[in-house]
Symmetry: C3
Subunit: 154 residues, 3 copies
């Protein structure tokens, strides 16, 4: 069986986890848009102060940093620091043909850790709680890359 065929349950697991993380990252962009429109602030470019459909009553203070909007941007940055590395580490891991239970644990474990991190960040839980979910996700990516490296080098 071709390990890059959807018949391979390890690849199918990867495809599901990776697609869910695509939706997570893209959704984070829309959360920023929603918060920007709702609070009418946190704009990023000078031209956004021109009157228009998005901004009917512009005011220079709209360019100031706003934690409600910036929180979503920080969550997005944290995603970008973790999820692309997950996409690649997960794919490399599929290439070395791991046990299905291990792939499912790691790939779905990452998805759950990042959703929990999303919840902790969006609701401003304590640094300790947010850091715990970050750590679980990060260690999963590091484990998959290190495991792949060991197999590739031996």
């Amino acid at each position: 069986m071709d390990h890059l065929s959807m018949q391979n349950p390890v690849l199918a697991t990867y495809v599901i986890a990776a697609a869910l993380m695509v939706l997570k990252v893209m959704g984070q962009g829309w959360m920023t848009v929603y918060r920007m429109l709702k609070s009418n602030s946190g704009l990023a470019s000078p031209e956004d102060l021109r009157p228009g459909l998005i901004n009917r009553a512009p005011d220079p203070s709209q360019l100031a940093l706003n934690d409600y909007v910036d929180r979503s941007r920080r969550m997005h940055r944290n995603d970008l620091e973790n999820i692309p590395a997950f996409w690649v580490a997960g794919f490399l891991f599929v290439l070395i043909d791991p046990a299905l239970w291990l792939a499912q644990t790691l790939l779905y474990g990452f998805v759950i850790a990042r959703l929990a991190h999303f919840w902790a960040y969006a609701t401003a839980q304590s640094h300790e709680i947010r850091a715990t979910f970050y750590t679980v996700g990060s260690l999963i990516v590091i484990y998959m890359a290190a495991h792949t490296l060991v197999v590739a080098l031996t």
Copy 2:
């Protein structure tokens, strides 16, 4: 036919679109470098104030935010929020073997939307115009991920 062979026209479409987006992202880095050198400002690190080939007459004001340079950095950030997710969603989409016309529409559509977004951002078009191109690109990525997920789960 192997769906991950260049003989597969869906994969060839993906390879062309993904490679164009690699050049786009890397080019954005060089646009920042160009603007930094041309305006002699927008430097990011204290050590960049040491005299040298890049900076013959250093001045502390060079570390201040400069919209000409920062605009290119914001464009880059927007790229990073969209293009890596496109690379992955497009690849997952190839794995589920979609119709060629659909793959071409979505993959080349994304490339065109992002080039239009580049133009709108670089020339400071209104927020509405920039947001329109952002939305087209974003919906294409979301569609590919959701379509892949439905196929993988059924």
Copy 3:
């Protein structure tokens, strides 16, 4: 031989280089965490000022920008501007079946250039030295994408 099998030495080269870069990016996140804990500053969210295991004696000044911590964040941002594009360009390059010596030179060359960039940035070397390593890495990614594009289009 299947070009996406680990028996293909070009793919094995890619897997090693890509996995090393995963460890580099994830390690950069931990370098930020380490510097944040060591200097007790550079926190990013208001809720990080709540007393807890990570922060026993909170002070509002901990939210101010701190170059020691921010340097690691800038290095991370620079990674994100280069490494995901490398992961994709390298993979596309494998798909067009390049000569092994060329693949090894480019893929391992990128890894070495980014490790040198890490050293130059972490130790605050001159802008010229940092820019040189950035340029080598960037040109390798651009070359792989352009080469792939030429092959895919002809």
